[in-house]
């Protein structure tokens, strides 16, 4: 299940839901992305998240489908917040359950790597006197490659 929302989410509740719907799965992996105290610049006071309604949901649903084709998974949960966020606020939640811990870890990483490079979200950093769109990070593009390279042992 995927959610794009302005509201915060509760990781404990999300975990318990994953656990409840995963009685045959022995492994639950969760990832949470937070707004760092210090992002690109010391003067950042808030983060604003814009998205492309409609396309975001499509990309994330296709991402869940692709993860299920690659691994045998129980539940998949993706939550991504939009709107204005403060330091230490939660941005994104990914939770995956599986019979095998390796599959749960791989699927959660896959979802995050693809989400970071394919899902239409954009971050803008608000400083005291200015605002600046966040630039793409090279490491995020590299992280994606391992899932695209068929000769990769992964």
């Amino acid at each position: 299940m995927i959610s794009i929302q302005r509201e915060d989410f509760n990781v404990g509740d999300e975990y318990e839901l994953l656990r409840k719907t995963s009685r045959s799965e022995g492994a639950v992996v969760t990832f949470v992305g937070l707004v760092r105290d210090v992002n690109l610049s010391d003067s950042v006071t808030a983060l604003e998240l814009e998205h492309y309604p409609g396309m975001t949901e499509k990309v994330l649903n296709e991402l869940c489908d692709e993860a299920r084709q690659r691994w045998v998974l129980g539940a998949i949960r993706i939550i991504h917040r939009v709107g204005k966020l403060q330091a230490n606020d939660q941005i994104v939640f990914v939770g995956v359950s599986s019979r095998h811990r390796q599959d749960a870890f791989d699927a959660a990483q896959f979802v995050m790597d693809v989400l970071k490079t394919q899902a239409p979200f954009w971050k803008k950093e608000h400083g005291v006197n200015s605002a600046k769109w966040v630039e793409v990070r090279e490491t995020d593009m590299l992280a994606l490659q391992r899932w695209q390279n068929p000769q990769d042992p992964q």
Partner: protein, 91 residues
Amino acid sequence: MVNAVSGGWKMITIKFFASLRERLGVDSIQLELTSSITVSQLQQHLIAQHEDWSDLQQGKVLCAVNHTLCDANTTIHDGDEVAFFPPVTGG
């Protein structure tokens, strides 16, 4: 190829996001097509029609047609929703 006035063809919607939206100063526009065109042709047309829309040029922005990422050679049909935006930075 493209007719911004009127005609027998359906409208396409073109949306802009994030830094591109801010630089162009517009959220979305509608265009009436008189024939199918490619993403690349649409970009050329928009840049020719609008002063200071050079940010729209190929290689600087991503394009999605009907909510799916596509490349410059993708054909746009009547009724399509086209979107241009910078590389994504969510998560």
